[in-house]
Symmetry: C2
Subunit: 197 residues, 2 copies
């Protein structure tokens, strides 16, 4: 075949969800079937890499200092929903069930994998909570051991008095991440949120 | 979220085998989880786009005028295997069962979809067959209506006397039970039955 082709196939195979066959198919699609898509994809990748950064407030994706959600005056700034990753935030946004802001941790506590509080986006959450402007903190973390530990850590260490802590409720299948849930499930999970601790 | 992010997600979703969720996951992987992979992928795409081209002999992938298979002196140049696409060639190469050369048509005849003989890589196949150096032409095209029509067209119009034309066998895949096979496969398996012992 071709070594540049095999290299591309290898690079594609490293990406999540792509196996050997799908990487091969993608590479051929971009090189043989639809070669005009390749420069478009390259441009899109480069533009995203240069423009997309972390929101300094919530840690989500932004193209400016502060993301579009954090700077949206229509949203309730006293209500913060804590999520593990940007994918979870995107899934919640699709459900339109949360009208407050977010805080993206970019992970969950996992001592086994060497993920401690310092590895997570927790310092800025502490700052937001200490501002005195937060009424409620909704914990939208998965209900596995690590999600549990993260909820516990936040509640014990970061939440000042006067802030209600809730956790999204039943409806989420055990062991299932927020990302995989459908909008209706997420909506009911948000509606059935209960006081935590 | 971010418009550069959404644009990247849209571009990824256009690729074969990628749905909305997998495109979103890929985009986030490249932007948030493993940002160092993005420039590597871009470089690999650009290198492949600039280096990979069609072999002027067989139509397969090459990094020079002629591909590595066509220029391999160990392979039998009198035996040509005709395939629909490069993916088919790659699958046959993995089987190590074909020691001759290839000819990649980049499609199959499909009047309904406006694919006539001019749209396929047939002219150079005619040239190779007319050279007088070909002993056998193996048609490794699918056994659907279009594959059938393509086999028929090649045999009727391009093959000079003295060239044996064969077609790969159809039947039950290795390890596949009769119970799981579809009716068309079973029909061709029965039709291509051979005397046993």
């Amino acid at each position: 075949m071709s070594s540049a082709f095999e290299d591309l196939q290898k690079k594609l195979k490293q990406l999540p969800g792509l196996g050997f066959r799908s990487a091969e198919r993608l590479a051929l699609h971009l090189l043989v079937e639809r070669p005009n898509r390749l420069p478009e994809l390259v441009e899109s990748l480069q533009r995203a890499a240069s423009q997309v950064r972390r929101c300094t407030v919530c840690g989500g994706l932004a193209e400016a200092e502060v993301c579009g959600i954090c700077s949206d005056p229509e949203r309730d700034p006293s209500l913060i929903c804590v999520v593990e990753q940007v994918l979870d935030q995107a899934a919640l946004e699709r459900s339109s069930a949360h009208r407050g802001l977010y805080h993206v941790l970019h992970g969950k506590l996992s001592p086994i994998n060497g993920v401690g509080p310092e590895e997570l986006n927790l310092e800025s959450l502490a700052g937001r909570l200490a501002s005195g402007n937060i009424r409620e903190l909704v914990l939208a973390l998965p209900n596995d051991v690590e999600g549990e530990a993260t909820c516990h850590f936040i509640t014990e260490n970061l939440v000042p008095e006067g802030v209600a802590v809730t956790r999204i409720g039943f409806g989420l299948p055990s062991g299932g991440g927020v990302f995989y849930a459908d909008p209706v499930t997420l909506k009911s999970a948000l509606e059935s949120r209960r006081r935590y601790s």
